[in-house]
């Protein structure tokens, strides 16, 4: 079992299974064989993440996470699953039945479609589109429609408010998301995710050529992650489901399995965007050091995914929720100019000769506008000392 066979174990089993299939059905069965593992692995990852999230948040707040169901609480998702399956599915009378039913399906469908272009391991990608990134953002933009359908069809003020907030937030954060990935397209010259990972899989004296180790790559990675958190309505940007103000945003009128579908859709969206972040900036399935390449490639992908999920949970445990105007200001007044400057620095990086001068120029070109922008934006809001007026 040489390391290469372990690495290609899934590809070999797939071809071995394909051998038994009559050639007429070959394409369909090969498609099914490559799609089914994704449909199994990522919902499992969703189950594990719910436990990790609740235990992580607990430990951050100096308390235990769920530790009753199963050893250390790790069969909690099974309990949650059964609970959400057995719960009664209440549909409001005035709701619009068809759209109410279709919304969660469209959300989960869009979330799953996003995985078609993610290279999970060496030549382990479902379909290698040469316009892969564009496909991902096209599918990502369908999620907003599903969110709106959910909010509008339940005909309740809270859900409509939540849906409007969610759609406004997702639209205004889709632009920085796309522009942050334009940087990578410029550097690699191709939209296909497999080619992007190929370019990052080389090493110079055991350090990988990941894009995150370049100034514009690191800035792009940060901008991409902030936009990805906003795109999947998580942590500091979870205004659409602000429990304190509008109870639960667009999925308030859903219960039982459809409610669980919304969560599945949200988490799958989070995995898809962080998977894309790994592919673009953290070198997809390539090993962090040249002497570690004997480890199977898919392990690296899922290891990086777990690290990103822990960072998501960490940020969720720390940062308070942003107000709607702060949210919009951040998107339009800070992220958009920063991504444009980032594209400019990537171009500069491309044309300047390699060397320390290039590093200094690019980092300066990124850091100075960042500080100037944030100082300028803070100027407007004169944060005075908070004064309280108590009732006489």
């Amino acid at each position: 079992m040489t390391p290469d066979t372990i690495d290609q174990i899934f590809v070999i089993t797939k071809h071995w299974l394909l051998g038994y299939v009559p050639s007429a059905l070959q394409p369909i069965v090969s498609a099914i064989l490559s799609v089914v593992p994704i449909l199994v692995v990522f919902p499992l990852l969703f189950a594990i993440t719910t436990v990790l999230e609740r235990k992580g948040l607990g430990r951050i707040q100096n308390r235990y996470g769920p530790n009753r169901v199963g050893p250390y609480g790790f069969s909690q998702p099974i309990a949650d699953g059964i609970k959400s399956l057995t719960k009664e599915d209440v549909i409001p009378r005035s709701a619009d039945q068809v759209v109410h039913f279709l919304a969660p399906l469209l959300l989960v469908l869009a979330a799953f479609l996003g995985y078609a272009i993610l290279p999970i391991g060496r030549n382990m990608v479902i379909v290698n589109l040469n316009a892969g990134l564009l496909y991902f953002f096209a599918i990502g933009s369908m999620v907003e429609l599903a969110v709106f359908m959910a909010g509008w069809s339940s005909r309740s003020k809270y859900s409509l408010l939540g849906a409007m907030r969610a759609v406004a937030q997702m639209i205004s954060y889709e632009i920085p998301l796309v522009l942050a990935s334009v940087v990578i397209i410029m550097a690699t010259g191709s939209l296909s995710t497999v080619a992007i990972v190929e370019q990052q899989a080389h090493y110079t004296y055991s350090l990988p050529h990941w894009f995150v180790f370049t100034p514009w790559g690191f800035a792009g990675f940060l901008l991409f992650m902030v936009a990805a958190t906003a795109e999947s309505n998580r942590s500091p940007f979870d205004l659409p489901e602000g429990e304190s103000e509008i109870i639960a945003g667009y999925y308030i009128e859903y219960s039982g399995f459809k409610f669980a579908l919304f969560f599945l859709g949200e988490y799958l969206g989070m995995f898809a965007t962080s998977g894309l972040a790994i592919t673009l900036f953290l070198g997809g399935w390539s090993a962090p050091f040249s002497f570690l390449t004997w480890v199977p490639s898919y392990l690296w992908f899922f290891l990086k995914l777990l690290v990103l999920i822990c960072v998501f949970i960490w940020i969720r445990g720390t940062l308070p929720r942003l107000r709607q105007d702060q949210l919009m200001n951040l998107a339009w007044k800070f992220m958009l100019p920063m991504t444009l400057i980032n594209i400019f620095t990537a171009a500069l990086w491309h044309f300047m000769p390699a060397g320390i001068l290039r590093w200094i120029a690019c980092t300066a070109l990124l850091v100075i506008p960042c500080i100037a922008l944030s100082r300028g934006l803070k100027q407007g809001k004169k944060l005075q000392v908070r004064t309280y007026r108590f009732a006489e």
Binding site: N130, L134, A138, L145, W152, S192
Partner: protein
């Protein structure tokens, strides 16, 4: 090959026909998105991947949401029960069928010639063509989009009440 085409054509026609005939405006938009996704699938069938995904991104992602927002802002509360068709709707339908008849006759009479090769075009070629041969239209497109952006914002902005 034609089976897939027929299915996708049926989806597109069903979606667009529903978009033009449903009573509630938001249902029309959702039906329209189904039609447009069917159309995008047709583009993929024709081998134009880049255009198919742009179509989804632009239409399903942006124009549909824009139309839905516009409807939410203009539609009063509750169901508007006034009739959905304008007064002289028979004339409209007549004109439409006439146009279709002429087009169908024109298509029918042209000799069917088709090159069997599926031209596989990669995104690099499109990018190269955009940047070299069509760079002027690209710049003008950028200008036009910014003008449209500013224009739409100014149009939709509430005017400041000048003191009469």
């Amino acid at each position: 090959m034609t089976v897939i085409f027929l299915i996708l054509a049926a989806i597109t026609i069903a979606g667009t026909a529903a978009a033009m005939s449903l009573r509630s405006a938001i249902h029309c938009i959702l039906a329209l998105t189904i039609g447009l996704v069917g159309l995008a699938a047709l583009y993929l069938l024709l081998g134009a991947q880049f255009v198919g995904f742009t179509q989804i991104l632009v239409y399903v992602g942006a124009v549909a949401i824009l139309a839905v927002f516009a409807i939410m802002m203009t539609q009063g509360p509750g169901k508007t029960i006034q009739p959905i068709l304008s007064t002289n709707w028979p004339a409209g339908v007549l004109v439409a069928t006439a146009v279709f008849a002429i087009l169908a006759w024109a298509i029918h009479s042209t000799p069917a010639h088709s090159t069997p090769t599926q031209p596989d075009v990669s995104v690099n070629q499109i990018g190269a063509a955009l940047m070299h041969h069509y760079v002027l239209p690209l710049e003008i497109m950028g200008l036009l989009l910014t003008a449209a952006l500013i224009g739409a914002v100014i149009l939709a902005m509430p005017e400041k009440k000048e003191p009469q």
